[in-house]
Symmetry: none
Subunit: 119 residues, 2 copies
DNA sequence: AATATTCGTACGCGCTATGCGACTTAATGA
DNA sequence: TCATTAAGTCGCATAGCGCGTACGAATATT
């Protein structure tokens, strides 16, 4: 069950086994074992998988059919978001300027990916 | 994390280790190992635990309800930060991949600014 | 065309740690 | 007092996790 869902999720993102394994910090053969059903991930690896694929552990294990779990979410484009919650990187707080640049960066990246998928 | 939650759930139901193990069809020492943190359940056992305690696997693993509203700052380089709080841009959730790129981007930007100040 | 790189798949090995039964200790009741 | 139940710990056998490695096929690079 978990193997099929992992395979499905990875292919949806057009990721290779090697790239996915790199993201997780594990060997390619290890991740490949998860997808083939030859291996089962440890609990720690399982959590990492859910985070990487933006889904829930319950979904990976086939406990639920719904894609995502119900985690608290924070919309970064929200007005005055930094006054609600301070965001830091390496202990140094993020400026609104930096956040705006990031949002623009992600929007551009997503747009480019969307164009790539067109062919 | 999982050990604490199991212990809490079992005590809420006033179940003994033996009774709980019987419900799961495993040895008492095995289940006791889960609660003490000495052992980790297999994925199959994990699912059974979630069913028995009428909860989710994500809760047992601490993927949900770990984010407390008390926190006023969020360190983005924190491990498994996205398991604590989902970040979205334009409603679409941010992947760990994208977050890593952002962190690298900000670090580079800060480094360049530091060099500019040198002269 | 020849070579190099990337992809998915599979195998063997070392070693961790899982699951079990047996044992101990403490608390409760007949 | 003895029996019963609960909780906790330990040693052992072995299942299986994670890794490196290697293969054929497909794609990219020269």
């Amino acid at each position: 069950m978990i193997s099929k869902r992992l395979s499905k999720l990875r292919k949806e993102k057009n990721w290779s086994l090697q790239y996915t394994a790199n993201q997780l910090g594990i060997a390619k053969s290890t991740y490949a074992g998860y997808e083939s059903g030859y291996r089962q991930p440890s609990l720690e690896a399982l959590k990492e998988l859910a985070i990487l694929f933006e889904t829930s552990v319950d979904y990976l294990l086939g406990m639920t059919e719904t894609y995502t779990g119900e985690r608290d979410t924070l919309e970064l484009t929200g007005k005055d978001i930094l006054s609600q919650i301070g965001l830091t990187i390496d202990g140094k707080s993020l400026s609104q300027d930096e956040l705006n640049q990031f949002i623009a960066f992600i929007r551009l990246k997503r747009e480019m990916e969307a164009n790539e998928n067109k062919g």
